[in-house]
């Protein structure tokens, strides 16, 4: 995280960081480290400033960003460093499986052996039953992710895949296949945020954070009124649009939280970009490809760029930054002015929607 943070600070040309916000999930569990905030400020030679770790499962990074955003908006601080970091490979695979079972209501589901993958699989089967769609529809999404990642230098997996290879990959938890789930990943991303009046030098390279909204839902998906409606996503998304004073049709790019393939259609349908049950068909018709009407996960998303839990929310916003400032290289979406990052905690118990806008 030190490497990413120092680079972000350098690029930002901001002289003084007033506070640090870190998104991270596994510090206590895998690294026996609490008080990550103080450790980070020490590592960055910034001891003395406020520094705190924020946790909201895999929305931690986005939640940390929101805290920084709120603090700056309040006027209490002028600049903030937001870091998302996770080193999952320090843990054994079974430890990571156990950790994700904590993203649900552990004393209800984890205690009886549910894993997050199996919960996603239950939603997946339910989705296919209700809308009478085949798995092929949902398998479109990992294909898009890998396609985009193939030209993204920072992506974890840069090989393309096909729908057949998705459907033939080993079964994780039927109907979920291996190529529909994110793998163990390590990573860090950092962003420097500042108030308008604190912008120094490089004003052209500053991208506006137009709004950051968060919402929560019943933690366990089948406790909700409709398990296939991610209301935390709808609420956060709509609130972020309202606060940014934009209409959904003005959004040029969406970075969405595809920790499992099924979450992509659920998110797109919960935000109204696809009708219920039809996100797969829209994907098949090219709507969500890089060159399509509404590109999603332009560098590969969680599946192909990678999903180091606490870092992901910051990755999403950093990638939107690259797009909006025109530095997305081969993955550049032309004329991108507004991007939204949708970050989920677990299976959308928490949702954070961040609207980024070119100035």
């Amino acid at each position: 995280m030190t490497t990413a943070a120092l680079e972000a600070i350098k690029n930002s040309a901001i002289e003084r960081i007033d506070a640090i916000y870190i998104g991270n999930v596994c510090a206590e569990i895998l690294h026996h480290q609490v008080q990550l905030g103080a450790l980070a400020s020490e590592n960055l030679g910034l001891t003395g400033i406020p520094s705190i770790r924020i946790e909201a499962a895999d929305a931690s990074g986005a939640a940390a960003l929101r805290e920084a955003y709120l603090a700056i908006s309040s006027g209490m601080i002028r600049t903030a460093l937001v870091i998302g970091v996770e080193k999952l490979s320090d843990g054994l695979p079974e430890e990571i499986v156990s950790i994700t079972s904590m993203f649900d209501k552990y004393e209800y589901t984890g205690y009886q052996g549910f894993t997050q993958a199996s919960l996603a699989a239950l939603l997946y089967r339910h989705y296919m039953e209700r809308y009478e769609v085949s798995q092929e529809n949902i398998a479109q999404f990992p294909v898009i992710m890998h396609e985009n990642a193939s030209t993204a230098p920072h992506a974890q997996y840069q090989f393309k895949i096909s729908v057949e290879s998705v459907l033939n990959s080993p079964v994780v938890s039927e109907p979920l296949r291996r190529l529909e789930c994110t793998a163990i990943a390590d990573g860090a991303a950092a962003i420097v945020l500042c108030g308008e009046d604190a912008l120094e030098g490089n004003r052209d390279e500053a991208i506006e954070v137009a709004s950051v909204s968060m919402s929560t839902d019943f933690v366990s998906p089948f406790d909700r009124e409709d398990p296939l409606k991610l209301s935390a996503v709808s609420i956060a998304f709509n609130d972020s649009l309202t606060r940014a004073k934009i209409d959904r049709r003005e959004v040029d790019i969406i970075e969405l939280h595809d920790s499992y393939s099924i979450l992509a259609p659920l998110i797109l349908e919960s935000t109204g970009y696809s009708q219920e049950g039809r996100a797969g068909i829209d994907a098949k018709n090219g709507k969500y490809s890089l060159s399509g009407e509404l590109p999603i996960n332009t560098f590969g998303g969680l599946k192909a760029r990678g999903h180091p839990f606490g870092a992901t929310g910051v990755y999403q916003v950093a990638e939107l930054y690259l797009q909006l400032v025109g530095q997305a290289g081969k993955n550049q979406v032309d004329n991108a002015k507004i991007g939204v990052a949708l970050s989920l905690g677990g299976l959308a118990a928490t949702a954070v929607s961040t609207v980024m806008r070119a100035r």
Partner: protein
């Protein structure tokens, strides 16, 4: 012995796990899997103990092959959602069946089984599971 399964939280959960005793909101009917003080849906404080039905329909199911710590010896095992007549849903393991015997919509009934145990010397956890209806 390194304790993996703690006594207090598992002891507190007994009645829910053994008998499907839940806390139901008198105002809106929402159920809570532990003693709730305020309804999570409508915020009413009129909550009382209630028992879930022991027969329901299977809404969805899947198989766990990569187990969390403590469940390795049980793989592959089946998990699913049961839906009761009033629309309440319950997450549960399915037992006494193979995945190919299960169908969305089939009737399932509650039994009490061994959920897991803390090695050879730690606590044994018992709790509800559901099986295809026979009785």
């Amino acid at each position: 012995m390194v304790v993996r399964i703690r006594v207090p939280p598992n002891w507190r959960a007994k009645q829910f796990r053994y008998r499907l005793i839940v806390y139901r909101c008198d105002n809106c009917g929402t159920i809570h899997q532990w003693p709730a003080i305020i309804c999570r849906k409508c915020r009413s404080t009129r909550l009382r103990q209630s028992q879930l039905p022991h027969i329901g329909k299977l809404l969805s199911f899947t198989v766990v092959r990569q187990a969390p710590i403590g469940f390795e010896e049980f793989t592959p095992y089946i998990v699913g959602v049961v839906e009761f007549e009033d629309g309440t849903r319950l997450l549960t393991q399915l037992t006494d069946c193979e995945p190919n015997e299960l169908m969305v919509g089939m009737e399932v009934e509650a039994v009490v089984r061994k959920i897991t145990h803390d090695g050879q010397s730690g606590l044994i956890i018992y709790g509800y599971k559901f099986r295809p209806r026979i009785t």
